[in-house]
């Protein structure tokens, strides 16, 4: 678990603005955490504090068994950093080393590379789908492939935490999805905690368990993914939920809030047939005012149901659909 307590940070070179303003939060272990916010909100600054790429003046950060990051000397700082893998928006690969050499490079900095290191690096390359590219140079790879090398490299020191600063911002939609799935699967396999920074809510929706929303150096809202997606309270957060087509603010203006129902499809069920079956069986008139569902993923729907709400809720619950009022 990572605990951030009342941390403030100001960059020496920009005296008039405060990058982090009294930020407190915790990141539970075993989860994928998302941090979202507009440009300049302080997202990168926050995660860069965790591996001491930046220092902070006020507050306290606890991470692993370190109770106060500020107390670490240079040697312990390097120990801390070895336990934290980091991937960036662009791949930051070494252009004059091969893919395999890049993956092994963090180890080569500290000690002689052993055959078992090489073997592990190759297994990581296989995991990220690049077994056949070990002896290529970064310039001979696509952007998505380079990002995969970056992921393998971030895992080579067997970290406990993976920090991702906009890992997919430079990639197209398909590649983004693949990279996110890869981050998720490797996180599970290697028992990593993950923190992902982004300004794209779709990224968070795809793999995150929790979401922290930042604005102007503060955390303005945080919680489980669904709470943030569908029950966002802050206007700044709602601005992000518009990215996925859900404009809660407008919906609430258009309909009485108690008539809006939030449906969550957790398993692979055929959403359409459930809704149409419900309309026929119950003889109700409803309208779907928002839907974000895909055939093989969990999805969400917002219904406008002015009448027979109790029956609708019972019908859906029977079919294992999560139902809730929009708040």
């Amino acid at each position: 678990m990572i605990r951030i307590e009342r941390v403030s940070k100001q960059y020496a070179s920009s005296k008039d603005e405060i990058a982090l303003n009294d930020v407190s939060t915790t990141f539970e272990s075993g989860l994928i955490h998302g941090i979202i916010g507009i440009s300049g909100a302080g997202k990168s600054t926050l995660i860069r504090l965790l591996n001491k790429l930046e220092s902070y003046e006020q507050g306290n950060i606890q991470i692993f068994d370190y109770t106060d990051l500020r107390l670490l000397n240079q040697e312990s700082t390097r120990m801390l950093r070895k336990r934290i893998g980091m991937i960036f928006q662009s791949d930051h690969l070494l252009s004059r080393k091969t893919v395999l050499e890049n993956v092994l490079f963090p180890i080569a900095l500290h000690r002689k590379v052993t055959p078992s290191d090489t073997e592990y690096a190759r297994s990581l390359l296989q995991e990220v789908g690049l077994s056949d590219y070990a002896s290529r140079y970064p310039a001979q790879l696509s952007g998505g492939q380079r990002q995969r090398v970056g992921i393998a490299r971030a895992l080579i020191q067997k970290p406990d935490l993976l920090l991702c600063d906009e890992p997919t911002s430079a990639l197209d939609v398909m590649t983004t999805s693949q990279i996110l799935q890869l981050i998720q699967s490797t996180a599970r396999r290697h028992h990593l905690d993950v923190i992902i920074v982004t300004h794209d809510l779709n990224v968070l929706r795809e793999i995150c368990d929790t979401v922290t929303v930042m604005d102007k150096g503060r955390i303005i809202e945080s919680g489980k993914l669904d709470e943030i997606l569908y029950k966002a309270k802050q206007p700044e957060t709602q601005a992000f939920t518009k990215q996925i087509g859900l404009d809660l603010g407008t919906l609430k203006n258009q309909f009485p809030i108690e008539e809006l129902l939030l449906l969550k499809f957790e398993e692979e069920i055929v959403h359409q047939s459930i809704v149409s079956e419900m309309i026929q069986t119950l003889g109700v008139s409803i309208s779907i005012v928002f839907a974000n569902v895909s055939p093989n993923k969990k999805g969400t729907m917002v219904l406008h149901a002015p009448k027979k709400q109790t029956e609708i809720i019972a019908f859906l619950k029977e079919r294992k659909v999560g139902v809730d009022h929009v708040v």
Binding site: N51, M86, S90, L94, L109, Y137
Partner: protein
């Protein structure tokens, strides 16, 4: 014989010029690399950011670069006498050549390291690298093509300096062109020396380009 002078005289002069150029380039490469790395390191976003130190060293660098080479040689005469034991001959030209060209190359190194950039610095640190490792195992290797291009330009500039040094006693092709050619009004000797200098410069450029090409094979 070529224009009333033994071929051997030309060859000796060529050798002296090449010697002055190559030996001082070697020194300039090492010293300029360290100096440039120091400038990069102390500048903003550098590894050991320290604005005051940077400004002081930066001013010294610019000041040294602005001293005309001829004056630098004269100023360095006492130092040269102590270091080399004489103020005549190719070896005596080395201190002035090195001191004249090092700040020039240091600036090139500084720019090259900046271009390689902040990103790789952060990446290196995030692996748990020390700052020296970031410099010597990441930034400098990544900047190598630019550093080689820079040293080629510097070596060519040094060749130019050697002819100034030559004219006031260091020997070499500059000496030949000035003392035997210009001063004794034998224009063809001057032309021949100039051609040889041009060939030397051409050779340096070709070597530099080949090295860069070899290093850039990976992209």
């Amino acid at each position: 014989m070529l224009f009333d002078l033994e071929i051997q005289v030309y060859l000796d002069a060529l050798w002296e010029t090449a010697y002055m150029t190559l030996v001082s380039t070697l020194f300039v490469f090492v010293l300029g690399l360290l100096w440039g790395a120091f400038l990069y390191g102390t500048d903003q976003h550098g590894l050991w950011e320290n604005r005051t130190v940077y400004k002081i060293v930066s001013v010294i660098t610019s000041a040294l670069r602005s001293v005309p080479f001829l004056i630098l040689i004269v100023l360095l005469i006492p130092v040269t006498r102590v270091l080399v034991g004489t103020i005549l001959g190719p070896t005596a030209a080395l201190p002035a050549l090195i001191l004249g060209a090092t700040p020039f190359y240091a600036r090139i190194v500084e720019i090259a390291l900046h271009e390689t950039g902040n990103d790789l610095k952060e990446t290196g640190l995030s692996f748990g690298a020390t700052k020296l490792q970031v410099l010597f195992r990441i930034l400098i290797p990544e900047s190598l093509p630019a550093l080689i291009r820079g040293i080629t330009v510097t070596a060519i500039a040094i060749t130019g300096y050697t002819s100034i040094a030559g004219a006031i006693g260091a020997g070499g092709l500059g000496n030949l062109a000035y003392l035997y050619g210009y001063a004794r009004n034998r224009i063809l000797v001057t032309v021949a020396s100039t051609v040889l200098i041009a060939l030397l410069i051409l050779a340096l450029q070709v070597i530099g380009d080949l090295l860069v090409k070899k290093l850039s094979k990976t992209s």
